[in-house]
Symmetry: C2
Amino acid sequence: MQSRPRIPEATVARLAVYLRVLSGLADDGRGTVSSGELASAAGVNPAGLRKDLSHLGPCGTRGVGYEVATLRDRIATVLGMETAHACVLVGIGNLGAALAGYGGFGSRGFEFVGLFDASPARVGQHVGGLPVRPVAELEEVVAATGATIGVIATPAEVAQPVCDRLAAAGVRSILNFAPVTLTAPRGVDVRQVDLSVELQVLAFLDKQRGAVPGVPLDTPLAPAGGMA
Amino acid sequence: MQSRPRIPEATVARLAVYLRVLSGLADDGRGTVSSGELASAAGVNPAGLRKDLSHLGPCGTRGVGYEVATLRDRIATVLGMETAHACVLVGIGNLGAALAGYGGFGSRGFEFVGLFDASPARVGQHVGGLPVRPVAELEEVVAATGATIGVIATPAEVAQPVCDRLAAAGVRSILNFAPVTLTAPRGVDVRQVDLSVELQVLAFLDKQRGAVPGVPLDTPLAPAGGMA
DNA sequence: GGGACTTTGTTCCTGCGTTCACAAGCGGTT
DNA sequence: AACCGCTTGTGAACGCAGGAACAAAGTCCC
């Protein structure tokens, strides 16, 4: 009954999506939304959306719907977005530069306070308004800024040492883009985003769909010629 | 039981991880691996790993373990990696350029056959060995190359139109990096990768952990000055 | 050749997430 | 003021994923 006994992780991920949709609706001047419309825009089931929202207490009006601005602020508060989160980014390659320049982070309360790279050629360059610093200064910057989130976009070979240094420096949440499974000490949360894994799942689903005609397309799809 | 009655998506995602670990072990010259060691390297439970592998039939030797090369090839076959997949990439901004230059795709059977961007300044440039083409040629290239996978790395505003054009051109699997929920016709599978959502989940877990001291750290954690 | 150890493959069980369906409550209307 | 339709919030059932324990099977050693 308290504020948050426990919110499932799957629900948290969806809350972030709702928040994005609600921000767009607020910009369009919408005052209220129904669960059905919001669920449709987010690509989920209306009942599931209501259950997700029930985790943060009653925040809608029966017979009317949800007040867009109020619900947006409520979700932002629950997700911990009222306070800015300081992040450090290690590995300013192609992907790292893309992350540093991505505006979607800053508008959601995440601020990069340090960019690091091992290559001397990169050090000193400015990416997204911040200078790239040598990795030797990592611990110093983390301690000075109180950064709690670390993002790893390095080659796979050095991802684990970087993870160890981040954890030792006091970072408690790590987002890893390197294609390796990281091990972190107890109390440090690591989330893995493997781009090739996503592609392989897509390829498998495509193969499975093509091999099993049990899920036919309702589109004509022409000859196809496929046979079992 | 024979070929594939149905493999859960969660298992497919983990199979891709096992495949990466097995490739590394094969490069190190390892002949066999036990489920415990493989599970440890992949960061999963040994029992769960064996259950995942059971979906593709008995492929291990009791008392010994799994033959590294054999298991690797088996997983690669199941995931549909023996045949190369042609992909098109729309939106050559910071993120798109990073994806085009990422070597992890080519080594896993995914080949970019077309890069597209709406900006005339981008068109003609070469990224990752391929020329950037105008989006007007999208349908033509998809038809000529038979690409089945489309990757969207455009701004959010144009992601839905691009998705529609990809689907109409014959692409059946779409990986979307734009922060919008896409709607695709029946038969076209869309996977969403929202980087800010990942960060927000991390921030929430951190906030929850900090507010609820029920999960204490077993490390001393007192002075931040300590290091490995 | 036999015994014992190791490791896989399977089965059961617990818990979670998702979905469906209904009661409660609010606004608008007459 | 009362009725009625609409929407939220909640309770229950279904299905699925995850984890642990057990039996089968193969190998190594004596």
